[in-house]
Structure formats: C-alpha cells, structure tokens
Amino acid sequence: MPSLTVEEWLALRLSFQVSLCAVLVSLPPAIAMGYLLARWQSGHKWLLEVLVNLPLVLPPVVTGYLLLVCFAPRGPLGGMLESWFGVRLVLTWFGAAVAAAVVSFPLMVRAMRVAFQAIDPRLEMAARSLGAGRFDAFLSVTLPLARSGVLAGCVLAFGRSLGEFGATIMVAGNIIGETQTIPLAIFSAANRGGDAEVWRLVAISIVLAAAALLASEWLERRQSSREST
C-alpha cells in the first residue's frame, strides 16, 4: 500500500479520536434508552421510538444544522456550555464527536435494545429477592448478560461515526488537523482532483467499515449463542 501523506494520517487519527469520543459520549444514554425501550410497557412508547430513531432517517445535514443552531456560541445550549464549562463545540473536533454521537445514537440503541429484550426480566426479580436494589440488579445481572450486544452497539456506532459527513461539516467545518476526518478529507481531495489520494482514503474507509460491521456481527452472534445455552 502506498504510504499516506501527513494530511491523510491526521485525518485518520482524527477520525479515530472523534469516533471513540462519540461512542463514549453516547454509551451511558444509549444503555439507558435501550433498556427503557426493551422493558417499558406503555402506549406512549412509539413516541419515544420515533424521537430516538429520527436521526436515522433525517438527512445528516439537517441534524447538523439543528445542532449548529443549538450549540452556536449565541445558541441556547452553546452559550451555556461556553460560559459554564468553557467548552465550545462549533468548529472544534469535539463538535464533530457530538455530531457523530447524535447520528449514530439510534444504531447503538437498537443493538442494545435487542440484547436487553432477550434477557429474562425475572432474573432481576430473583436478584431483588436476594437483596439487590433495582440498579444493583441491572448492573450485576442484566448488563453483564447483555455485554456482547452492548459491545456490538458500540462497534456499530464507531463504524457509523467514522463515516459521518453531513452533520460533521455543518457543526465542525472542514479544518485540516482539527475537524477534517476521513470523509471530509475525501471530499476535499476529490474537489482538488487528487485521484490517487481519494482512492487511498476510499480503500481505508471500506476496510474500516467492513471491519466494524464484521466485529458487530460476530458480537451479536456471540450474544445469541449465549442466550441459547
């Protein structure tokens, strides 16, 4: 494989950094949401499902625009974040991570929900009859039993984050070494007409996406084989 340029290495490293951060940011709410959707019995559940899955069907550019409006320095959330924590999202790599987290959230929740649904809720009842509180029962019984499914959700979300483009460019822009991830680098290179460069990045993207998909597939199979024993 021909060697990568400095710019490409930066894009690759940044993609990993942004995706990893996106997965970590969305992991706790995704676990909570997956569990809620798996166990909550209510006529209003469809409303929550629509909200959670919305980023899956919305054009990422729309998601990105909404995030930009909310997190702009003078926006409702952006102003608060900046004055309380000194954190700025717009045109930073962290903004790219938040955009990727929002877009990949539904995929993550879906994998976890399937895993939680397959676990007998009465195991938690058994745990509670042995003195465990609700949260303790979840942490010590349900979560470890669902671990392959949870991990599969993380890998899938990681893969989706690596490929994020529309929301990222809206929120974080396309700054080399700061917010230019692989898909944005491909976009810039294609605009410049650098065919060889585009192909190198395209190959990397395909390999990474396939690896993430294979890993999540393997994890989900492991989850279902564990359930059958």
Binding site: L123, M125, A126, L130, G131, G133, D136, L145, R226
Partner: protein, 230 residues
C-alpha cells in the same frame, strides 16, 4: 414464630382478578390449588415483586404493605427468600458466585445460616466451580434453594420448586426440602398443586380457587374435603 397476615386484591390488565386474605404462623404453609388460581400472584405480592391495587401485609411487627397508608417496602428490603419454579440461576455466574450473591448483599442478617452448612446439607460441594448451564434440573434447583437460604431470609417462598423436575427427581429434592425445613426452621410458604407434596411438607394448607381462598386448615382436613368435593 412470626405471624404473616395477608390481604390483597388485584386485577391484571388481562382480566384475571384475585382477592385473597389469610394469616398463618405455621412452620410450613402450603398454598394449594389448580393452576391459574392465583397462587404465584400471592407469592409475588408477599415478595414485593407485584404491587396489588389494595392490600396489607404484616410480618410479625413489620408492615410490608399497606396501600391505604401508602406503605410498600421494597422487595430487596423484605428479607424474603424466593425459590422460583424454573430456578432463575444467574447464567453468567458460577454456582459459588450464585450462592454468594445474596449473602454479600445481606451480610448483617444472614449470620444464622452458615455457608458451609448449606453446602453440606444440599450436597453442593462438587458443583461450586460449575456454571448453571452444566447442571442438571435437580442440581439447579438445589443451588437455587441454597442461594435463597444464604441470603438469610426471614420467610422462604417456594413457587412449585419441583414442577419442572422428573418424577424420580421430585422425591430426592423433596427430601432436601424436608432437611432444610428441619435444619433451619425458616418459616416457609410453599405453592403446589400436588397433594402428595403438600401432605409431606406442610402443616397448614390454604386452598385457592379462581383467585379466592376456599378453605384453610391442617393438610389432612383440607385435602380430604377437596378430594370428596371433586
């Protein structure tokens, strides 16, 4: 011996309703009746796993449930052991860690029942390193019984613990149950639809039919009249 006073009425969204009241201070009380009579629901209410529309439960000096006064003690605080029909062992934990699960969480109360003695009485010594998927049905139920005992329950609930076992095994597990009752004298409520089991284990029988108590008294009396009436 503590006295259990129970009254609860509830209607499931599916339509089944029960209204059950009884009290007992027997060592081993059997809830006896056909399937669908509400026996398991009663156990779930006692354990705090089902919240009835109205009811009161008193255990000795403690009030576990009083819907009018807004009292509903959480399941994990009731110190009730529950042996389920299908054991519900934690599949990701070894037998030893299953046994320790409740012990760790109720350390202060469970001193009366010693781990080593439970392992001895239920003959669990050779199983400790194994996982539930590598146990036979009878072994699983023995581990489940041990796990409940080691959480130091003040009251032990058993929901047809023999129902999922072969005929030959039932008798062996029943022997273990008798040993447990004799050794630790934990007050036990035993759900069953099998008259022979009830006769062997219980010293008081509460007969349920269609969500209501139809009779209660000593086994000989209740079982006799239930036979003559059927």
């Amino acid at each position: 011996m503590n006295r259990l006073e129970f009254h609860a009425s509830h209607r499931y969204p599916g339509g089944f309703a029960f209204d059950v009241a009884f009290d007992t201070s027997a060592q081993a009380t059997a809830l006896f009746g056909p399937s669908g009579s509400g026996k398991t629901s009663v156990l779930n209410v006692i354990a705090g796993l089902l919240h009835p529309r109205s009811g009161t439960i008193r255990w000795g000096e403690q009030t576990w449930l009083d819907t009018q006064a807004g009292v509903d003690v959480k399941a994990e605080r009731r110190h009730v052991g529950f042996v389920f029909q299908d054991h519900l062992l934690f599949p990701h934990l070894s037998v030893e860690r299953n046994l320790r699960y409740g012990r760790r969480r109720r350390r202060a109360r469970s001193s009366a029942i010693e781990t080593a003695r439970v392992i001895e009485v239920l003959e669990l010594g050779d199983l400790l390193a194994r996982y539930p998927r590598n146990l036979s049905g009878g072994e699983k139920q023995r581990v489940a019984l041990g796990r409940s005992l080691l959480s130091g329950p003040e009251l032990l609930l058993m929901d047809e613990p023999l129902a999922a076992l072969d005929e030959g095994l039932k008798d062996r597990i029943l022997t273990y149950l008798e040993r447990v009752v004799a050794e630790w004298r934990v007050p036990t409520i035993y759900v069953s639809h099998n008259a022979a089991e009830v006769r062997r284990l219980a010293d008081r029988v509460i007969m349920l039919e269609q969500g209501r108590v139809t009779q209660c008294g000593p086994p000989a009396e209740v079982l006799q009249s239930s036979y003559s009436s059927s």
